[in-house]
Symmetry: C2
Subunit: 254 residues, 2 copies
């Protein structure tokens, strides 16, 4: 029996939580149910206030507290390391409240950071890459989450032009008729085509890799590479980090 | 905030747990993260002994106790209703131990029954059906789990011939090169074709619906109907039952 349980705080949105757990299973060397790693998933988005609404001042309640409560629940059933598959939950005003709430409660859980793990994944697997493109929701774009983390790590971060971000990427995610949030299995052809167009737009800016900085985008682009351009899924990076922190000997070679 | 949390005891195998949670999300009327139902998934197959090995006398340890322990953990974080997406866990020698262990521990959780819910789903959604075909692993086939439940409910249960079961269905699930357990995203063409062949074999026996009594089979046949023949996925039936027992007003019309 494996005593190090992995906790996943999902629900933001629900399918992003499932995608992270799916990656954990896929990235584990295991030939039977008994060899797989123990995972608990909390998918309780009903009790987490909207992250973007808080960050842009539309609601006063910091979602960090509700997220920390769920991490405590995960810890109460044995989780020793936890990941949160939601980009905006890692914006400093929210992530700091999560960390402070956990510290005050005496938590001993190891909380990984989605965006930092993505940067680490890039460094480990693509050591020659310097210029990194980022696609995301308009919210993550305006917060500059990946931009700042990449620049702090010595990368050149390249964002899509705001017009491309607004008319192509954001609509591919949110459009009520063809967007990925409205229609994800399968993703519509127009949504996939839009994301491909935005990736080509970044390629024209000479990027050497593209980070899909929104949990919906990898549903449209599951490929790890497009015509030689590495495509980075932060959820995959986080899944591998969760395995590395618990049973590294079972981490599948990439 | 929704106070009725759904518990899923997965891990047997890991992807079956994910498929059940996926169905819960898909079958819920929800327009935002906040409207989705709270779900906790325990995927800790590492601590549950092999079900088939126990049932066929190859190991002495009843997996029912480990499953009951996980249900208690789910209850400790608020789960009020629980489902187990594993057919063999519902064989009476295991399921009774789960129920007895929970009763002794004073559990108040409502534990749904995968196979009974499948029969209920059939009755509600296909009221005219009488002759029901079943495909499953050789273990479930030999245990007669669906066969007995269907006959007890007044159906005629029709099994595939043992040769079809052994050479076509079981290999579609377990074959090391093309089986669904070895290769599930996507399922190989030969595995899907094998399951289709077995369904046609049952159609020749004049069945009016087919139950996919193994959590791997719906990965090959996601359709809810093939040329007018209803195809029943027990995991979908269980997902809908879990919603019905918590927030029935959010159950999507079928």
């Amino acid at each position: 029996m494996k005593d190090k349980i992995i906790g996943v705080i999902g629900g933001m949105g629900p399918y992003a939580g499932l995608a992270l757990v799916h990656h954990i299973f896929d990235q584990t060397l295991a030939a039977s149910d008994q060899e797989h790693l123990p995972v608990v998933l909390f998918s309780m988005g009903d009790r987490v206030p909207d992250r973007s609404a808080f960050l842009f001042g539309k609601t006063p309640e910091n979602p960090g507290r509700a997220i920390a409560e769920q991490i405590r629940l995960a810890e109460s059933v044995g989780a020793v390391v936890v990941g949160i598959p939601c980009n905006t939950a890692h914006a400093p005003p929210i992530f700091q409240v999560i960390q402070e709430t956990l510290a005050r409660a005496g938590s001993r859980v190891r909380l990984l950071h989605l965006i930092d793990e993505t940067v680490r994944f890039l460094r480990e697997h693509y050591p020659d890459v310097r210029r990194v493109g980022v696609l995301s929701t308009l919210a993550t774009y305006r917060l500059g989450l990946y931009h700042q983390a990449l620049e702090a790590a010595g990368y050149e971060a390249v964002m899509a032009d705001e017009s491309v971000q607004e008319t192509i990427v954001n609509r591919a995610i949110f459009d009520a008729s063809y967007g990925i949030k409205a229609q994800s299995h399968p993703v519509s052809k127009i949504a996939r085509q839009s994301v491909l167009t935005a990736i080509e737009h970044l390629r024209q800016k000479n990027v050497e890799a593209v980070v899909l900085g929104c949990t919906e985008l990898p549903l449209a682009i599951p490929e790890m590479e497009l015509d030689g351009l590495p495509i980075i899924d932060p959820s995959l990076a986080l899944a591998r980090a969760l395995i590395r922190e618990t049973y590294p000997e079972q981490l599948k070679p990439l």
